[in-house]
């Protein structure tokens, strides 16, 4: 059984909670005691229906204010796949949360209310999904029951959105007409829309091909931890532990260590459960090399003829996440990239993006909370990176405020400058 990570974005008005409730309920993931608890709470609050939003709105503050303040994770499984769902609120001030939920997702579901068509919020969600390179995007055209199951309404929305999506970098786009409330095309096929010949949402989530989304070409292995047992039995043992960030590694392969540039051969690839014949993303393994060379945390193993970029001057898109400060030129921040910490000096905020229109605001000189823009910075040490579009692991970084220790920025590398 394979694991699929998905992100959902939308507001309560789009029927997102109903959709999630439907997926959990129809896949038998809602338990009786959970249902009883939300039934009791709904009744006490005088809600007309059992409020499925209470399932996802977990914190006291959220229930009291009727809002969702954070990313919530939900788990469900079918016989074919296990799903980890990052559920994020859709409102503009929660861009930070959607970026967080989207960072590891294989698939994103963006909800559209069939009555309202493609609105600003849908465009924003699709843009974030494309910025974070979520490989598969599903446009769930919901509330089809309220537009008389009309094919023309669906076609119009599809055309409208496809036009907008051509400006984005979306690999795989799927449109599904549905009614989350009545269950049409969520888990079961709709009898009301015989004109729709595609998959139901759940079927699509089970079948969409994700194995080839990972980078299997460029060997990238950031060294996380050096294993030296310090025991008589394993006296000379030296293993480099880490998670494969790209490519396929095999014993016998020649590898290069960055930054030293030394080369060696992979002697064995080990796990706590014994040696393996090959390692690929996202396996956590321990690499042993044939030669005794100096390797430490923050170094990277790659192939001599396929190396990442090595550089200190970086051009990147950044989402700013701090409530108390803004990002501007001259600022110094800590940066974490793969298993390496360094410091970054912000050289320039090149432009801010209007995430609703994708318009570039060239005269912007700062980014505040939930804003996305393009920046240049210089790091104290070289990073071993790839473009984010080529590798989501070696192309991403976080920025950390050195006084508060808060994570204040999420970045995607475009290249050097």
């Amino acid at each position: 059984m394979e694991l699929l990570r998905l992100a959902t974005a939308g507001s309560v008005d789009d029927g997102k909670s109903t959709l999630i409730g439907r997926l959990l309920y129809d896949s038998k993931t809602i338990f009786e005691d959970q249902l009883e608890a939300i039934e009791a709470t709904s009744a006490q609050r005088g809600d007309e229906h059992v409020n499925l939003a209470l399932l996802t709105d977990g914190l006291r503050a959220e229930r009291e204010q009727g809002i969702t303040i954070d990313v919530a994770y939900r788990y469900f499984a079918t016989p074919r796949r296990k799903f980890i769902m990052a559920d994020t609120p859709g409102h503009i001030q929660y861009t930070r949360n959607m970026v967080t939920g989207a960072s590891t997702a294989d698939l994103a579901i963006v909800l559209i209310d069939a009555r309202h068509g493609v609105i600003e919020q849908s465009r924003r969600h699709a843009f974030i999904a494309s910025l974070l390179r979520i490989p598969h995007l599903v446009l769930a055209v919901n509330k089809m029951d309220l537009v008389g199951w009309d094919k023309e309404v669906f076609d119009e929305i599809r055309e409208d959105f496809t036009k907008f999506a051509s400006k984005l970098d979306i690999v795989d786009l799927t449109f599904i007409p549905m009614s989350a409330l009545l269950g049409d095309n969520v888990v079961d096929r709709s009898a009301n829309m015989p004109w729709y010949e595609g998959s139901t949402l759940l079927h699509h989530m089970e079948e969409v091909h994700i194995a080839s989304d990972r980078n299997m070409v460029d060997v990238r292995f950031p060294v996380q931890y050096v294993i030296r047992p310090q025991s008589t039995e394993h006296h000379d043992y030296r293993g480099y532990a880490g998670q494969v960030n790209g490519g396929v590694m095999k014993p016998g392969d020649e590898v290069m260590v960055l930054p030293s540039g030394f080369t060696s051969t992979i002697e064995s690839i080990e796990t706590g459960g014994g040696p393996v014949a090959e390692a690929f993303q996202p396996m956590s393994v321990t690499i042993r090399l044939a030669d005794d060379i100096d390797v430490s945390r923050g170094d990277m193993l790659c192939r001599p003829q396929n190396q990442p970029e090595v550089g200190q001057d970086i051009d990147a898109m950044v989402c700013w996440m701090s409530e108390s400060s803004s990002l501007r030129a001259g600022q110094k921040l800590a940066i974490k990239h793969t298993t390496k910490w360094a410091r970054a000096l912000i050289k320039d905020v090149q432009y801010r993006l209007d995430i609703n229109t994708l318009h570039r605001i060239e005269d912007a000189d700062d980014l505040s909370l939930n804003e996305i823009g393009r920046i240049k910075f210089r790091t104290t040490q070289p990073l071993f990176y790839d473009k984010y579009t080529r590798n989501r692991s070696t192309g991403s970084f976080i920025l950390v405020d050195e006084t508060t220790n808060a994570t204040v920025g999420a970045g995607m590398i475009l290249g050097d400058y």
């Binding site: 005691d33 959970q34 608890a37 954070d70 990313v71 459960g273 956590s284 808060a406």
Partner: protein
């Protein structure tokens, strides 16, 4: 042709091992909470695999309420001996004896709330700056919103509104003196994933997880074991039943469920078919108020 697919449990294992190694690399004094429950057993197993063939480079800490299942303590001691890992015990009894906390009284008395005090004292005594916990997000709705690396201030408080965003697999564990992190490497596992993993890896667990005969009595629709630690109320009668535990905590507030599942395959079958969450079925401590877990977490609970 190789398909280069990882099973979902293998993917979860890879993620957990990455988290455990990251903490060992970046923190000065990490420790792993170990209760003898299945989640902490799996977590310890992952830690052993993460550093093999070297020893786990940090100790385990048991928050001992004094109200234990004997089998679980025997299991803990056996595991410590096998792995050579260092064990640190934070004792609730000691906290009571020192007058740091006052024990609840009456038939519904529980030491669950007192655990927090012993836990925080243990963290302070040993200067731990990162504490691994076996909490899973599917357990409870407050946990569903907690980060893998959960920042705690100098009072060990959790502030759900001030959580650090957590992106990709880039964890930010930076902190000042006196602050620490709770780290949850198996956040994304479900109860069923845990059981599949226990089966696949052939992990030894305490026998109370399998069906056995036990003297129990009914309270709040839960079967509680008869123990010297708690008194029964007047109208309560005990009887011997075939039961098993789905979770293991303080013996006074962990309920058993009727079950004939005496092998791992039968347990998996039972868990897959069940319609009640494990905490809902067996934990009196979560039933106290609707936001019980959120409130306890804010005070510094796991």
């Amino acid at each position: 042709m190789t398909t280069y697919q990882l099973s979902h449990v293998a993917a979860l294992e890879a993620e957990a091992i990455h988290i455990i190694r990251e903490i060992a690399a970046e923190f000065e004094r990490p420790a792993m909470l170990f209760s003898g429950g299945k989640d902490s057993i799996v977590m310890l197993h992952l830690a052993i695999k993460a550093f093999s063939p070297a020893k786990v480079p940090f100790p385990i800490m048991h928050v001992d309420t004094g109200h234990n299942f004997e089998e679980v303590i025997a299991y803990r001691d056996r595991r410590v001996e096998e792995t050579g890992i260092r064990l640190v015990v934070a004792s609730v009894q000691e906290a009571i004896d020192k007058g740091m906390v006052v024990e609840e009284t009456g038939p519904r008395a529980s030491r669950n709330g007192l655990q927090t005090v012993a836990l925080l004292q243990g963290i302070e005594d040993h200067g731990f700056d990162a504490l691994f916990g076996g909490a899973r997000r599917d357990e409870e709705k407050a946990r569903a919103k907690e980060r893998v690396l959960s920042y705690r201030d100098e009072f060990s408080q959790w502030d759900p509104k001030a959580q650090r965003p957590e992106l990709w697999n880039l964890y930010n564990g930076r902190h000042n003196m006196g602050e620490h992190f709770r780290v949850f490497p198996i956040s994304n596992w479900t109860e069923l994933d845990i059981w599949h993993y226990i089966r696949d890896e052939n992990i030894d667990i305490p026998h109370v997880y399998y069906a056995h005969k036990r003297e129990v009595f009914l309270r709040d629709n839960m079967w509680l074991g008869v123990t010297p630690f708690m008194s029964m109320m007047e109208d309560e009668v005990s009887e011997e039943r075939l039961v098993r535990f789905r979770t293991i905590g303080d013996a006074t507030c962990t309920g058993a469920v009727d079950s004939a599942a005496d092998t791992i395959d039968k347990v998996i079958e039972e868990v897959a078919a069940t319609r009640i969450t494990e905490r809902g079925a067996t934990r009196a401590d979560d039933r106290r108020t609707e936001a019980a877990m959120e409130d306890r977490k804010k005070e510094g609970y796991f």
